[in-house]
Amino acid sequence: MIVTVASGKGGTGKTTVAVNLAVTAAEAIRATQLVIAPENPENFVELIDCDVEEPNAHLFVKPQNVVKQEISTMVPAVDMALCTLCEECEKICRFSAITMIAKKIMIFPEMCHSCKGCSMVCPTGAIKESSRVLGSLLTGQSSHGFNLTWGELRVGEAMSPPLIKQVKKTITCRSGRGNSISEDINNKLSIVDAPPGTSCPAVTTLRSSDFALLVAEETPFGLNDLALTVEALKKLGVPMGIVINRADSEQKGIIDDYAEKENIEIMQRVPFSREAAKICSKGLLLVNELPEMKQCFKELYLKIVSRITQNAKESKYKKTFTKTATSSSDNSIVGRS
């Protein structure tokens, strides 16, 4: 099960919610206070930070044994000895990444989208594969009993979606939605931290999520951007719920009115406090520092679990969250392929 934490507006608290939720879920599983008792509690939860432009989850999780891997994308290189200057490559390229200037083929690697069109049309095989570094893929273990994986876009690189796709490939649990996968939807919980906005990076991250948890703040900016994200999720067909962060009071506000109109559940209100802001600013976890926050995130986690169970029952997939989660460990291996 892939739960993606998103918001249109930046700085609403996506990362705060994602890391605290991951710690809460991992603890709840270990304590087996819940109906779910997977065979492999240590591997039940994973956190994936897809905000590759500005990844922050690792600052809170402080993972150990971090492994770093460089991620590149294909860009063309021309063997001028084979090139006949037919210009076919220039004709097919939609991104002005390859062009003929003064009887020489020039390549602009940073414009290239790696569609490989140039090498496919080249009649003499003069186009070879070179590469451009997109950034790094990092993975490490949290002392709270889950793995954190994140991407780090190289500073100066413009395209984050190809790196986000690579980060998403590491998700060990497969989505029950999209494609044709339906068997192993529920045996793991992957919490994904999404980038802000409603454009390619956010959409790339949110595609094929089972559930989106939207972190909203009760300001006109917050409402405007929340509505944009909701529209994007409707287009993608991802079910969603809202967490109101830095809520001023228990009283209903503009986000509640909007949620009611759109028929979206408000799953939790995380109250504003200067103390909480200070804890987050130091890179500490709210659930470790404040007992009321621990309770708050536990409630949120339980609500998400029950909501997902309900969704699974309602959907065409036969297996429910509890059933597959308690079933044999075979399923957890399937997800890795």
Binding site: G8, K9, G10, G11, T12, T15, D51, E53, E54, N56, L59, F60, I92, R94, F95, H113, S114, C115, K116, G117, M120, V121, L153, V155, G156, E157, A158, M159, S160, P195, P196, G197, T198, S199, C200, P201, A202, V203, R207, T219, P220, F221, N224, D225, L228, E231, A232, K235, L236, R274, A277, K278, C280, S281, K282, G283
Partner: protein, 318 residues
């Protein structure tokens, strides 16, 4: 003409609130909202819309099921997993009766379709389709606007839901703003940038004279600020830093100031946490026109400093 871009790396540090205020303080300027997929500046700056124009983004491929012979050429070549086998049931309604019968008789199958969200618009499938079944149209991906505000024009946009090409849209907005500045002899362009360091950010800061980074006293904001400073230096822009909500963690605020000093970055000031910021936003006004409190005073000071620094930039660049 000078160009100042307000960025932050991390989202939600207060770029738009600061931009709205300095756009209200600068006597004559063009202001751009370059955060095109979550635009907010129009909510906090009183304006009158005077011009709307469609934004033409990239191309999208679409397969005509009538012409598709299921040869898999497109499917094999697409690098973006955008082409998938469609279940015949789904496409039957779209087809003619004759084709319908052919499918039922298993004479043709399977069919392919393109997921418009995954399509990168590279046109490789279009080129290789043997039956010309794939159409390739330029998409309308949003709208560009020009509005009139108290101290000059505002150039803004709305990118369509889940659309791409935000970098191209930002470049077009900046081009339009430059033209207007030239025509109307306006000396300053202020750009409200998007969060992150990716394509719309690069489009927002390329060729800018100076960047004002709005950060906040949190480890995550510092981490993101450092990345955006590195980007700004690669693009040869002068860099200034101000701290928003500076009193939420004074110790970290001091560290940021020290960092700026050590790295030869001009420090433009500290803005305290103030409820008036959100209140002004709720009233649809810029902070400096709504309140005269602590944050409002601090923003005015930041602007005075940035103006002084920009003077230097002017001499250095021209």
């Amino acid at each position: 003409m000078k160009e100042l871009t307000v960025i932050s790396g991390k989202g939600g540090t207060g770029k738009t609130s600061v931009t709205a205020s300095i756009a209200s303080l600068a006597e004559k300027r063009v202001v751009i909202d370059a955060d095109v997929d979550a635009a907010n500046l129009f909510l906090t700056l009183e304006h009158n819309l005077i011009e709307t124009e469609q934004f033409q983004g990239g191309y999208k491929a679409e397969i005509n099921p009538e012409l598709c012979i299921g040869c898999k050429e497109c499917f094999k070549r697409c690098q973006f997993d955008a082409i998938f086998e469609e279940i015949t049931e789904n496409i039957i309604p779209k087809l003619s009766k004759q084709k319908d019968e052919q499918i039922r008789d298993n004479r043709i199958s399977p069919k392919f379709a393109i997921d418009p969200i995954a399509c990168e618009g590279c046109g490789v499938c279009v080129h290789f389709c043997p039956t010309g079944a794939i159409s390739f149209e330029r998409q309308i991906c949003g709208e560009k606007y020009i509005s009139i505000t108290a101290n000059g024009p505002m150039v803004h946009a709305r990118l369509g839901i889940a659309e791409e090409n935000s970098g191209l849209l930002v470049s077009q907005l900046r081009q339009r703003a430059r033209e207007m500045a030239k025509e109307q002899k306006i000396p300053l362009i202020i750009t409200d940038g998007p969060p992150g360091i990716g394509c719309p950010v690069i489009a927002s800061i390329s060729n800018a004279d100076a960047l004002l980074i709005v950060t906040e006293p949190a480890l995550s904001a510092i981490h993101d600020m450092k990345r955006v400073i590195k980007l700004g230096r690669q693009m040869n822009a002068a860099i200034y830093v101000c701290i928003n909500k500076a009193d939420l963690n004074k110790e970290i605020s001091e560290n940021i100031k020290e960092f700026c000093f050590d790295n030869n970055i001009k420090f433009a000031g500290e803005i305290p946490f103030d409820r008036a910021v959100v209140e002004s936003m709720k009233m649809g006004k810029a902070l400096v026109t709504y309140s005269d409190g602590a944050a409002s005073k601090a923003v005015k000071e930041v602007w005075e400093n940035v103006r002084l620094f920009m003077g230097d930039t002017m001499e250095r660049v021209f």
